[in-house]
């Protein structure tokens, strides 16, 4: 069993920062098993978590100065919430980990504190039946752990409820932007090809004046969809994410038209009003995966309706723009 340092070092910080930007995000692991924070004894509480390094760093920071056992399940470097959904943070793994680490001989009590977000993977009654340990669901957020422990393991209603405030949304944005590289590449290629055909010239300096405006507009649409929409999410009218994104996109398109409109052809302006909302709607739809309140059935329904509309609007816009270039 390993003893845990509770101070976070510079490499920890750098690694965490990289993870948030999507660099080496997956499989940022620590070894699964039992860890001692401080000097835990037979009466010390046992906290269960995932072997995801970011979670582990957060836990040891919150637990500084306390004596607790930390039982990390093998989730292959995935956080508790996602691992519980996949089943790796699950009943069987917990039962096995309890037995393999010899936990029953180390502690006299029979209570495990499992994060509430791990509940989709853990059947508390089955753990109890198999090991004698009672699963007590603790707070959702690690930052509430000190208060939870100080209250004698009592969970307040606020600790039980999902939260999705501005700060929660802000930390998700970097990954959103980085993950957009694939569509970004495709769209940039599309722009180059269409422009090259339109001006019948493949040299960079001939392409630049035709290609630059649509590229800038795409970037505006990307930012509107993956940065502005998430930030303003609760205040944009409607419930469907694509609809929220489309509104932000339409507004951005109108703004762009007002700024640059006088030098533009009608075809460009029409294309703008179709393509930008389509792209922002698409990125907004992607943001459903980052939230804690969208259901599978809801997302399926939204995609069935929104995707055809998004694709249609995009195609119409691109065709109008291409025709405008050729005439």
């Amino acid at each position: 069993m390993a003893r845990v340092a509770t101070d976070i070092t510079l490499p920890d910080r750098l690694g965490g920062w990289g993870v948030r930007w999507g660099i080496n995000r997956m499989h940022y692991t620590v070894a699964a098993g039992l860890y001692a924070v401080g000097q835990p004894g037979s009466q010390s509480p046992v906290l269960v978590s995932a072997n995801y390094k970011l979670t582990f760093d957060q836990l040891r920071r919150e637990l500084a100065g306390r004596d607790v056992w930390l039982l990390l399940l093998e989730t292959f470097g995935i956080n508790v919430w996602c691992a519980a959904g996949k089943g790796t943070f699950g009943t069987l793994e917990l039962i096995n980990r309890i037995n393999r680490t010899g936990l029953p001989t180390l502690v006299a009590h029979r209570t495990l504190i499992v994060p509430q977000l791990g509940a989709p993977g853990i059947a508390a009654h089955e753990v109890k039946k198999a090991t004698g340990f009672k699963v007590h669901y603790g707070p959702i957020r690690a930052e509430d752990l000190p208060e939870f422990l100080d209250r004698g393991m009592e969970v307040t209603p606020a600790m039980r409820r999902a939260r999705f405030n501005l700060r929660d949304r802000l930390v998700l944005i970097p990954v959103e932007v980085v993950q957009a590289w694939k569509p970004t590449l495709i769209i940039c290629l599309l722009i180059v090809v269409v422009c090259a055909f339109a001006v019948r010239d493949f040299r960079f300096f001939s392409l630049l004046p035709v290609g630059l405006p649509p590229t800038v507009l795409y970037l505006v649409a990307l930012l509107a969809g993956s940065v502005v929409t998430p930030i303003l999410l609760p205040w944009i009218p409607g419930r469907a994410f694509s609809l929220k994104g489309a509104q932000v996109g339409l507004l951005s398109a109108i703004l762009a038209a007002l700024v640059m409109g006088s030098t533009w052809k009608v075809a460009d302006l029409v294309a703008l009003l179709f393509v930008v909302p389509a792209i922002t709607a698409y990125f907004a739809l992607n943001f459903t995966g980052c939230t804690t309140f969208t259901s599978l059935s809801g997302v399926e329904k939204e995609m069935r309706i929104a995707l055809p509309v998004i694709i249609l609007a995009f195609v119409v816009g691109v065709v109008v723009w291409t025709v405008g270039l050729l005439t």
Partner: protein, 95 residues
């Protein structure tokens, strides 16, 4: 309160006849969908459900059912193509 998603879409079902009123579902749900009164659980905010499956998995008498998965466009997208090939399950893509 967290923001709301679409109305009347979730697959969550509660069989009140079976419920023993243990309150496990109220403890695991992060959206306050359940409340226990008079020793029986009730769905007090069904539309807030995100279909995570925690309640169904932790109900000792199997009074709750839900088709669980992740409400993530990317996961749904992947499952649409996977299902055609091998009939895979919906909703786990954050690997």
């Amino acid at each position: 309160m967290s923001p709301r998603y679409l109305k009347d879409v979730v697959t969550l079902q509660l069989d009140e006849e079976r419920c023993s009123g243990c309150g496990m579902c109220t403890q695991v749900c992060v959206h306050g969908v359940f409340a226990v009164s008079k020793s029986i659980a009730h769905l007090v905010d069904r539309d807030a459900c995100m279909e995570c499956g925690a309640c169904a998995r932790n109900c000792p008498v199997e009074a709750v059912s839900v088709r669980s998965g992740v409400g993530c466009a990317y996961a749904v997208w992947k499952s649409w193509f996977r299902r055609k090939k091998e009939g895979g399950e919906v909703g786990s893509a954050c690997s």
